[in-house]
Amino acid sequence: MKKYDIIVVGAGPAGTTTARKAAEKGASVLILDKKRDIGIPVRCAEGVSEQSLRNLIDVEDTWIAQIITKSKFVAPDGTEIESVPGERGLILHRKIFDIALAEKAVRAGSHIITRAYVSGVIKNNEQVTGVRIEKNGKEEEIKASVVIGADGIESHIGRWAGLNVINKKSYMLPCYQMLLSNIDIDPECVEFYLGEKVAPGGYLWIFPKGDCIANVGLGIDIEKAGQKNPFTCLNEFIKKKFPHSACLSMTAGGVTSGPSPSVIVGNGLMLVGDAAFQINPLTGGGIINSMIAGEIAGRVAAEAVQEGNVSAKRLAVYQKEWYKKEGKNNDRSYKIKKVVSQFTDADFNKIAELLLPIPPANRSGYQIFKKVLFKYPHLIYDVAKVFGVK
């Protein structure tokens, strides 16, 4: 029977980053993905902060669909708040990016098997000792000292191992996105539309991928959506705003937005990325957090294997480090999100009115959210921390 130090389930940014770091530390690593193609499809708006990505990896131009220099919030009454914050964003070609990350994991020494569906984990008493896979119609068991679940929002690795990490209905925001071409946009500007009609309890995004093409999508809170689902909301918006657009790709998906789970490790087990609820609860962004967590997870897992101690207590070092590095910010973001997702159209319109007098160059994330939360002064500290203001 095959045996590895570490098996990583899922070849997205969380899984391949974890694998790469573990392999760099000398661990034997196998990555498994049920899909035929890495990076296709992804259910993702593909937007990241440029600096955050450059802090993690050498960025290649081929990964970048579009550089973003401006953002625009649109209130329900149509008031537009543009900002030129000075920090750039990138909209990525995830199908190229994911393959590049997988390549790096392989060059570091990881093995990879695609089209391999993980059907269960193997346990010895309370210790996870491997996985069961289905490949080409055959079942096979593969052993490992540590199994790492980087298997996305549908994740089962944690549950099969006995962790209580179900995504509650109230923490799940269903989303729909289309790649729209033949649209009239400012390619350097990301747009966010707010309001009960356009995206109840969430927001609609326009993330340009070129001069006349963009990821246009939205996420909603089902408690507030009434008789609409994200697909119908998006179609309504597109009919009005981009009536001559052509849809080149469409995907359904979901993001989690909730408090950090209390436990994301077990005996011989770790969860990373969307599988560990690490998506930013306010923005819905997961790529950067997945890679930050993956770096910590890969290192800790490899060290634990080398020490011969893969107990939950030893692996919990990863969870603590993750929480200190970014998890705590996620919880602050969730406090902010809970408040913002209750806003009425009147609230958003009022905030836009308050922001108008501020010059666009001064409309940083921090300044914007200070106004957004003007009725909640007790959250100013959280806002400052989330936006890295001292």
Binding site: R36, I166, C175, Y176, A252, G253, G254
Partner: protein
């Protein structure tokens, strides 16, 4: 024996996995291009139907009402 209460409309399903994510009964199995609901594990909470972005999950109301009547009679 359980009746066929919940089913997934394969013409609408995008295999996004959101339903799988919220199913605490582990009643939905999704592989690369296949998905099915194990009606025996299913606890009829209907969270899956609520979160589906394209409303691809259909509930057979007659079957659900029959099941509730059966449990009431036990």
């Amino acid at each position: 024996m359980s009746s066929h209460i919940i089913s997934i409309n394969k013409d609408l399903c995008d295999f996004c996995g959101v339903c799988v994510g919220v199913c605490y009964a582990n009643a939905i199995i999704m592989k690369e291009n296949q998905i099915c609901i194990n009606n025996e594990n299913c606890k009829q909470c209907f969270w899956c139907a609520d979160v589906c972005p394209v409303w691809a999950i259909e509930i057979d109301k007659h079957a659900y009402n029959s099941l509730r009547k059966e449990s009431g009679n036990e």
